[in-house]
Symmetry: C2
Subunit: 215 residues, 2 copies
């Protein structure tokens, strides 16, 4: 019989587990983590954790879903508070790489790459990768489409293709920055070049960039 908990308490518990799991995955990557590590970090009994998640994979997936949700909320807020779609685009790109400076080891990213790049041989994992890829590409394409509709961008290329190009480029900068460090990869220069490249792909019309003091 499952313990009697209100929904909000359940959600709170579940978040506590995910936060503990995140700390462990950040520290050890994906492969090196056991359910026992998560149990210990969360400070709950194994039984409690089983009420919410069956295994490490489920916890990691839930953590990725949570991060997606947080990112979507962040994006919604950013769209409301920005003067242009271009500003939103530049801010989200900078924010992603800013994480490299603020959290040594790049937070959850190495565990993420481990999970997917090693997991691609597993059919179920492959499906999850595919879904995440498509969702990410579509999300950025929707943002770019908003810019087209507002008359900010007039790209020659298909919007989905632009989204795929930028996703690859970001991914490459991210993996190189993690593996050789931001100094060796010259990450700052790379991110600036990525933004310049995107600008040229979009044929940016009215340049409303953050901090340029114009409206």
């Amino acid at each position: 019989m499952s313990p009697k908990l209100t929904d909000s308490r359940k959600e709170h518990r579940s978040l506590q587990i995910l936060e503990a799991a995140k700390r462990v995955f950040v520290e050890k990557g994906y492969g090196g983590v056991t359910l026992k590590d998560i149990v210990e970090e969360a400070g709950m009994s194994r039984g409690w954790i089983y009420l919410y998640f069956q295994n490490k994979e489920e916890i990691f997936e839930a953590l990725l879903d949570l991060q997606d949700l947080q990112h979507e909320r962040y994006l919604d807020e950013l769209i409301k508070s920005s003067v242009s779609v271009w500003e939103v685009v530049v801010t989200t790109i900078s924010q992603q790489f800013g994480m490299l400076d603020s959290s040594p080891g790049a937070g959850l990213m190495p565990a993420f790459y481990e999970y997917f790049l090693i997991g691609w041989r597993d059919e179920k994992r492959r499906e999850l990768i595919m879904k995440r890829y498509e969702k990410g590409i579509a999300r950025f394409a929707t943002l770019l489409q908003m810019g087209v509709e507002r008359g900010e961008f007039s790209p020659d290329k298909n919007i989905m293709d632009v989204s795929k190009l930028i996703a690859s480029y970001q991914e490459g900068i991210m993996t190189h920055s993690i593996t050789v460090g931001t100094d060796n990869a010259n990450t700052r220069m790379q991110v600036d070049s990525l933004v310049e490249y995107l600008k040229s792909l979009l044929h940016l019309k009215s340049v409303n960039v953050p901090d340029d003091g114009r409206r």
Copy 2:
């Protein structure tokens, strides 16, 4: 006492082991392979293999060195047979991605990513990553510099920075193509865009592209 073998026989043996190891790494990735798998695939005794390599990591490193050597020979030949440095650049980029079509599963690449992206937490492995990164960046920069000296390119950016940018972009296209497949990633379009981007970074002067019929 080690068996009496001439140097060329030794090299032949060593190559046999590396070829067998390659087949196993291509099939199973890095983590999933044991020394036993390599021993069985090579059809030699474990003792024989220990004369050449102490462990799986040494075999993998030797395999990467061999691939580097083969790539350098290929590049030298290509430089001799091409009409322009730009032709060499385009051919090497296409060749890298062509592998995605010819070998399903992208050959040794997944094992390579596994080895380095998981291994970056290990200090020794980190050093090896760094060396390989620097070598690869320098090799491509040398090629670009040759184009500058021959008057083909006149980039605004530093040649090393251009090399780092293209390396990231290639890496991203490669990882996405492996994880979601070349159709979903639209790899052909991505590689064409990468070449266009590089062209704009280099401010290509005389356009000697392969198959354009001009000299």
